[in-house]
Symmetry: C2
Subunit: 431 residues, 2 copies
Amino acid sequence: MTFKNEIIAMGVAPLARRAREAALVLATVPDTVRRDALLSAADALMNHKVEILAANERDCQAARVQMDKGHMSSSVFARLQTSEQGIKEMSTRMREVANLPDPIGQILTDTELAQGLRLQKVSCPLGVIGIVFESRPDVVPQIVSLTLRSGNAVLLKGGVEAAQTNQALVSILRAAFASFPEIPHDALNLLQTREDVTEMLSLETEIDLIVPRGSKEFVSYVAAHSKIPVLGHGEGICHVYVDASADLKKAYGVAFDSKAQYPAACNAAETLLVHGDIAQLFLPEILARFVDAGVELRGCPRTVALAPHVNVLLADERDWSSEYSDLRISIKVVDNLDQAIAHINRYGSKHTESIVTEDQEAAKCFMDEVDAAGVYHNVSTRFADGYRYGLGAELGISTSKLHARGPVGLEGLTTYKYKLYGDGHTVGTHC
Amino acid sequence: MTFKNEIIAMGVAPLARRAREAALVLATVPDTVRRDALLSAADALMNHKVEILAANERDCQAARVQMDKGHMSSSVFARLQTSEQGIKEMSTRMREVANLPDPIGQILTDTELAQGLRLQKVSCPLGVIGIVFESRPDVVPQIVSLTLRSGNAVLLKGGVEAAQTNQALVSILRAAFASFPEIPHDALNLLQTREDVTEMLSLETEIDLIVPRGSKEFVSYVAAHSKIPVLGHGEGICHVYVDASADLKKAYGVAFDSKAQYPAACNAAETLLVHGDIAQLFLPEILARFVDAGVELRGCPRTVALAPHVNVLLADERDWSSEYSDLRISIKVVDNLDQAIAHINRYGSKHTESIVTEDQEAAKCFMDEVDAAGVYHNVSTRFADGYRYGLGAELGISTSKLHARGPVGLEGLTTYKYKLYGDGHTVGTHC
């Protein structure tokens, strides 16, 4: 029986129970074994690149048919297709995560509560993680690196477009792990269908965390249909605020990069806020740059008035709460820093917010008072990324305030347990 | 208009919006102000003890009527009633939390990502906390200490039995905070009715965390009826496992204390697991001690067989998954450590689990492999408590793995934000 048929025959619930068993074992697997298994898997990717490329070509062939019918965009196709260089990068990234310090078994606090009574707070894996992601094949080794390095079992479900590629990758990784007898076979499994995902969402006793990577609608659906905690973000409504004391050169760079460098990313900016005192100086030039880059402009009345020679549509209320994810930006002129902060705290999605200013006091206010996972001073919002943050890889970006916030790497895949060591201590006699 | 009428006139939604505003301000209030406000509030409790005792007496009078009608147990009454000594303790505890190190503004990591690009992970308040608790009046100053010290706004709702006492306490605390102009009036509010709680659960855009302190049914109800993250525990099914290599004296002490010292507590043990090799030696004595203390016994067939002279009912499947919260215990003889661990991972509620053994290897296995917030070696499960852990006070005990786990103090009321400082850094040119 092939691996795929095995899952179809079993259903997700027994698979998740086996993942739970695997997770209990995995939590005790030594650092070196988890590291070496990932290094071995990184080698395996390179050794099996021909199979991966062949599987990817089968996915791409099917995708081309969908593109020809107008059922798939060229940007989705571009993310689906991989190459020898792409596989090399997957392998390198895996190696990097393998070589990160062990996130589990770390003693976070160590206190002597009383004579002979010692309390240690020790990091440990979450258990079983369910991850549903879009069509990019490089997500598979990235997620497997993070989950195995942190001692978690994982149930993966990728986009149907990348089914062959994902299957090939998972088979190669599982085969590599099989050389390490300490690592349970069920530490990694790939789900096949949408029905599998629906079933997975109901398995709250077996699964500790669901990570949905996809559209806002998908993330909302998952959160509404599962009692399992969800890590991720529905929206990335990020702002750049250009203060009265901004250095104009930095402001052009940060505003343009935040919007136009890769507008489909969740950390791209959707709204530009500009202090009234600098608007007349700053707006004409940045708007011209945006127009040159094909960015559609929506502005408040003051913006429209300040840019008579540029095509700026009048923004309405919906623009301030829209994640365009496209070459479009909304622009608002504000009277002062407080108005900018209030706008962001009202319309932002608590993802990433940037101020451009040379006024250190204004920067401090902004960074303290804006309620978001990332608050930046003179930096493009596009830096909100686990790899750029030095986390090695990224499970996702969390806009929740509980547990992990912002880009989530290994640490977000751990919890802790309190270990209390005594000598027969009882509350009745030692309290 | 009195404070109470003000809330009735307003409804919870506007109050929660004002709490959100207050939270944004409170997040920037300096350490010393938050500390001094709590010290001042601790003084105020002592200065107004006559009013608190009078309000408490009104609650107690009403409660006595309920007791006479058989609508209230004497244990609930005992928890409701406070005294001059009780108020002194509230005041002392408040002082202790005031003097704990500031949990917010702590730099958790500090990394230079690139030339001139510095990333700091800084602790900050969660925002607005909604807390629903039972009738103990000392919970009010405890929660207010924790939330104000950590810069969070709070919406409190106590048991209806303690309405007068809670109202008096909240009024005194608010009056004390009013001397500190930096602290917003709406940092602390008391809800009045069950309908207020229902409304609060729907305000997911205004409230960041709900802490339900009450019965398993109540906690489940809250989790099922709110999209707001919930911190707490539904059940405390804790075990004591007496290993073959246990020191008998320690085993008697730990097993007895875990069950009988205060059986209504969530950290009291419900099941005793005993290694077969020591059962004949250990069981007769511990069972006799339990019988003397009025503890009802439910045992597996081997337990029953080993205790012919003691009244042990045969346990059924439900006993292993029951939180008795009473003078009753279930007892099971197991063949080995692995069976004990498997039983706990199957039936435990991931709260607190203890092994009694002199075998360090067995203790290590137990503590690594048992999946619970607290894993203890030769210690009574009753130690699972924020105050005993040195957290100053306790918001609750979390059996969730995300965010805070185990007894939750100040740190569990914080999140973090990433602050990124640059000099015009853009991804397009610096990546």
